[in-house]
């Protein structure tokens, strides 16, 4: 009974974390793009005249979207049209279950892992759910019965399938180095030290894998340098026939994908919740200093480290989105099949050679 209670609490907490972060990522995106372009950004949303840097903007947006007309075109397939946004939202939202937020904590003799679903195929689970998200896109294009929406969803499917290959292959090297698919174990393995002082983070062991994964993951989020499925300047994309809350769900899916990609980058390549030289007893610096910390403080530090790393990657992705123009379709396919896939195969080969030495 308590187990189920703990599980429920964990699910609620993780979802709240995810949704609040998603909500404020929309704000962060507007603000960051504004700062990059020497502007100020949304700062007018206010409650009783109080407007703290426009922090209420996401709520204003949400209210606006909820009260918009829920428009379903007559020529669309009603059921599938309604199902599509929920499908793509669901498959992204569920991935948060496999992300480890911190080390195990002990309360009243019980060991609780800060992870909802510690499966031994955790990594595959996340990748599978992310690729299932395509169904939302294909369905929305198909059900809209609009040729531009269909074009967008076809593009989206082709793009996601192409980059799925590079995405998976880029992680093979990583799985060879930390021989596990269990995300918590991958994170634990990154807590060890290389040569006695250097954190064994994935980015140092698999630099090429990291770059390929970054590119492929960016393509997976379908945002600007790779926003062919949306292509707002030419075809509007797979959600051309959506409005109001359903359109909002697609947008939220986009932002949640950013967070999931950031969480994956953190977990796989930047040590997850690991803080360099921090163990369960406190800091142990390689030059001999020791700094004892209580277990709660250690857990708090770890969770904070995970969050900060995720924020940094969200920041980086928004920066990339506001820097580059979109790729042409053939360039997109070239990049995926002719550069990233061979490079990731090369990465596997290199890793194998180094490991067999």
């Amino acid at each position: 009974m308590t187990d189920i209670g703990i599980l429920l609490i964990k699910i609620v907490l993780a979802l709240v974390w995810f949704l609040v972060l998603t909500l404020y990522l929309t704000w962060a995106e507007r603000k960051e793009s504004a700062v990059i372009q020497d502007r100020i950004g949304a700062n007018r949303a206010s409650i009783f005249g109080i407007r703290i840097l426009g922090l209420f903007q996401p709520f204003a947006d949400a209210i606006k979207m909820i009260f918009k007309e829920d428009f379903v075109p007559v020529f669309s397939r009603k059921f599938l049209h309604t199902l599509a946004p929920f499908l793509s939202f669901f498959f992204v939202a569920i991935t948060i279950a496999a992300i480890p937020f911190g080390d195990d904590i002990r309360i009243a003799g019980k060991t609780i892992s800060l992870q909802i679903f510690d499966a031994n195929i955790g990594l595959l689970f996340v990748l599978a759910m992310l690729s299932l998200g395509i169904y939302g896109i294909i369905l929305s294009g198909w059900a809209s019965n609009n040729r531009f929406a269909l074009l967008g969803s076809i593009r989206g499917a082709a793009q996601l399938i192409s980059y799925e290959v590079a995405l998976g292959l880029s992680l093979v090297g990583l799985i060879m180095v930390y021989p596990s698919l269990r995300l918590s174990e991958i994170v634990r393995a990154q807590g060890s030290l290389l040569l006695g002082f250097f954190p064994a983070w994935g980015v140092f062991l698999q630099p090429l894998g990291f770059i390929i994964f970054l590119f492929a993951a960016l393509a997976e989020t379908k945002r600007v340098p790779f926003d062919l499925p949306e292509g707002e300047s030419e075809i509007i994309g797979f959600f051309a026939e959506y409005g109001g809350l359903k359109w909002g769900l697609f947008m939220m899916t986009d932002f949640m994908e950013i967070i999931i990609v950031s969480a994956l980058l953190t977990t796989l390549f930047f040590g997850g919740w690991q803080v360099p030289w921090l163990s369960t007893a406190g800091f142990e610096f390689p030059w001999g200093w020791k700094w004892h910390l209580g277990p709660w403080l250690v857990t708090a530090l770890e969770v904070a480290a995970f969050n900060i790393k995720v924020f940094i990657f969200c920041w980086l992705q928004i920066l990339i989105r506001w820097t580059y123009p979109r790729l042409r379709y053939d360039q997109l396919m070239d990049l995926g099949w002719k550069l990233l896939v061979p490079l990731s195969l090369l990465n596997i080969l290199g890793t194998a050679i180094v490991m067999s030495l």
């Binding site: 960051e32 504004a34 700062v35 990059i36 372009q37 020497d38 502007r39 100020i40 920066l319 990339i320 506001w322 820097t323 580059y324 550069l339």
Partner: protein, 157 residues
């Protein structure tokens, strides 16, 4: 492969530019937020309704009709402005003035601001310097279209 590497370097450079903008602007935003005044600001934005930019000396804004010393409009209803107006938004009806020096005056003078494109040709065409566009009123939006039709009473204010 080599070409791709070249692109990659350019990509990094581009990211560097936007990141530099972000860091520099963020620095000025933070410094200004804690109360330190700097000459350069984090953004070039003007917060419009509260903050207004000074209008240029030769700006064009809402029209006004000039008056003679005795308060009558200076306009002699020569129709030059109505003729030159590319938007055809000036409507004038002339009436006879008892003063032989003046001869005509506008009994009706309407500018339909819905159609006006603020080109300023009417000002340039006027031989009497009777119409000017220097009221500095630029926020002219109204809730009903009728409020945008300016007659003699409003123009002479």
């Amino acid at each position: 492969m080599l070409k791709a590497l070249g692109y990659f370097i350019e990509l990094l450079k581009g990211t560097g530019i936007t990141a530099r903008h972000f860091v520099v602007n963020m620095w000025f935003h933070t410094v200004n937020l804690v109360g330190i005044k700097t000459k350069r600001k984090g953004a070039v934005t003007i917060q419009y309704p509260e903050q207004k930019k000074e209008l240029a000396a030769r700006h064009r804004s809402l029209h006004r009709l000039m008056k003679r010393e005795d308060g009558k409009p200076r306009c002699v209803a020569c129709m030059l402005c109505a003729t030159v107006c590319p938007a055809e938004c000036i409507y004038i009806e002339a009436a006879e003035d008892p003063d032989l020096e003046i001869q005509k005056y506008p009994s009706i003078f309407v500018i339909d601001l819905k159609r006006c494109c603020f080109c300023g040709f009417c000002v340039e065409a006027c031989p009497e310097d009777a119409i000017r566009m220097d009221t500095a009123k630029i926020d002219l939006a109204q809730t009903t279209p009728e409020d945008l039709v300016f007659g003699l009473d409003k123009l002479l204010k």
